[in-house]
């Protein structure tokens, strides 16, 4: 049950998208997200959707898998959709008592909804095609220039790596403890909200203890191997921008240019 969460999960593959330098993918994703905010009408979204769709097809991540990751965010999408629909003033379309749906409201709601979906799919494609470790390596490299103004790039990246690395471990741990307590008759699924919150105690106490134990073991193991963050660390796989990364950046520039031209001229 718990291991089926796909948000932020890596989908193993060997497509050209998977093989791109993580930095390329991080920057491209940022550009894509920013560009989405430059779009002013649905024609612009159509272009963005085609671009995103093509990338998905090239990455060979099944659409079903991506949409599955959307599920937890579905509520937020519905929420923004509803708020936008009712809160935007304009020519009334339908009136339900004190609530009015205006023509502009409906337009904004759909507009914002599409933007949100594209945004989430775009960023989830980054995590789906990039191993978490590569992702943090990329972030570290990108943050490196900021070290001059005192940003601890390596430490931040290390923290992120460890956090990401232990999400599955903690999920597994949660699953295990949950099962152990269910075997003792614990019920996590029924009752009112107070009862349910109380039912979580048998899960949370052991989970916290496990988390501290794991953290302690890890710290010990790192120290035993003389871990020391900072300047002089070399890495096993140096990242190098390649021809395909340059090509990806060129495509991104073309994409931004098309969006901008569309915004100005159509």
């Amino acid at each position: 049950m718990i291991r089926d969460i796909t948000l932020g999960q890596y989908y193993p593959g060997s497509s050209i998208i998977h093989k791109l330098d993580p930095r390329t993918k991080i920057i491209s994703t940022f550009i894509f997200i920013i560009t989405l905010f430059l779009v002013k009408d649905f024609l612009g979204y159509l272009i963005a959707t085609i671009a995103l769709g093509t990338t998905i097809i090239i990455s060979r991540v099944p659409l079903k898998f991506i949409l599955k990751g959307l599920k937890p965010i579905f509520l937020i999408i519905i929420f923004t959709f509803t708020i936008n629909m009712f809160m935007t003033k304009g020519t009334p379309l339908i009136s339900l008592g004190f609530l009015t749906i205006s023509k502009e409201g409906l337009y904004t709601a759909v507009f914002m909804g599409v933007r949100l979906v594209l945004l989430i799919i775009g960023s989830s494609l980054l995590t789906l095609t990039t191993k978490p470790i590569n992702l943090t390596d990329g972030i570290e490299k990108l943050l490196r220039p900021l070290r001059k103004i005192g940003v601890p790039a390596h430490e931040l990246a290390m923290m992120m790596t460890i956090a990401l690395r232990f999400i599955p471990t903690l999920l597994e741990e949660t699953d295990k403890i949950m099962k152990a307590q269910m075997a003792r008759g614990a019920d996590f699924e029924s009752g009112n909200i107070i009862k349910r919150a109380k039912a979580l105690i048998p899960l949370l106490v052991p989970l916290f203890i496990s988390a501290f134990r794991i953290a302690q073991d890890l710290a010990m193991a790192m120290e035993a191997r003389c871990y020391k963050g900072g300047d002089d660390r070399t890495r096993m796989n140096e990242m190098k921008l390649q021809g395909k990364d340059v090509a990806a950046f060129l495509l991104m520039i073309v994409f931004v240019a098309i969006i901008l031209l569309q915004r100005i001229y159509f």
Binding site: P12, A180, A183, G185, I209
Partner: protein, 285 residues
């Protein structure tokens, strides 16, 4: 009459995902009331998946599990009724302890079954003495200040207190020192004798299985590779070795003696049996 009937059980993890793995394929076996069943198999062979099916924590893709004439894989079954019948002690069960006192922790299961506080208190006392601890000394202490072996006993007591007809233990001796190891096994044997329940013991220790089990299941790659009495199973040395398993130390010893050309007809499995056998051989010479 069988207490547990498992028919063509199949389970697949992460179905439809690129990393889907079939964890169980077409597993069938039966267990009679009062039997002591040992499950062996190397890591990842499906042992843990199998036992989680037995108390309804996992649902099979196909196949049936009938316990005490109730099909626990059917949809309209109450989980509480299954858990009343089947107690499951996971690996490293001490990680599930959470209450302020040992007493409260052990009472958690019985209270979840809907027993009254008095009844639960009785069961706690009983369970603590069954696992060989002293109630007065331990009941009001925090489970977190106990030693590793004691924590494990308390955790096992938490399941025993539910008085299951079937008690499943997943490697109850993992990570314990030799003394605690043999203590826990003696405790399991004692529980089996006093409660007369079915015990299903998952273990990597062939010697323990040979000494305790009436029936041995050998898992390999999600399939039931062998099923039979310890004598039958441990006589198939080559097959076991090809599955990455070993013989019990005693049987291994006898097998090596045979290899040296000593004629031994019986098939002893435990150290005591080997001892007797050696006396016989030495006397005859």
């Amino acid at each position: 009459m069988y207490l547990i009937e498992v028919k063509n059980l199949t389970h697949i993890y992460s179905e439809g995902m690129p990393y889907q793995t079939s964890a169980l394929t077409d597993v069938s076996f039966n267990v009679k009331p009062g039997e002591f069943v040992g499950i062996i198999g190397h890591t990842g062979s499906g042992k843990s998946t199998l036992i989680q099916h037995l108390n309804g924590l996992l649902k099979p893709k196909s196949g049936k599990i009938i316990i005490d004439n109730v099909d626990i894989t059917s949809k309209d079954i109450k989980m509480r009724d299954i858990r009343r019948k089947i107690g499951l002690v996971f690996q490293y069960p001490e990680y599930q302890l959470f209450e302020e006192t040992v007493h409260k922790d052990i009472a958690f299961g019985p209270l979840n079954l809907g027993l009254s506080q008095e009844e639960a208190d009785m069961r706690v006392k009983e369970a603590i003495s069954l696992v060989g601890l002293d109630y007065e000394e331990i009941a009001l202490r925090s489970p977190f200040e106990l030693s590793g072996g004691q924590k494990r006993r308390v955790a096992i007591a938490g399941v025993i207190a539910m008085k299951p007809q079937v008690l499943i233990l997943d490697e109850p001796t993992a990570g314990l020192d030799p003394k605690a190891h043999s203590d826990i096994l003696k405790m399991v044997e004692k529980i089996h004798k006093t409660e007369g329940n079915v015990i299903i013991l998952v273990s990597h220790n062939m010697g323990d299985i040979a000494a305790l089990a009436d029936k041995v299941l050998v898992m390999d790659g999600g399939r039931l590779a062998l099923c039979g009495s310890p004598e039958d199973v441990f006589s198939k040395e080559d097959l076991l070795k090809s599955l990455g398993l070993a013989l019990p130390p005693a049987a291994e010893f006898i097998s090596k003696l045979k290899g040296k050309g000593i004629n031994i007809s019986s098939k002893p499995l435990t150290v005591e049996e080997v001892e007797n056998e050696l006396y016989n051989i030495l006397n005859n010479n």
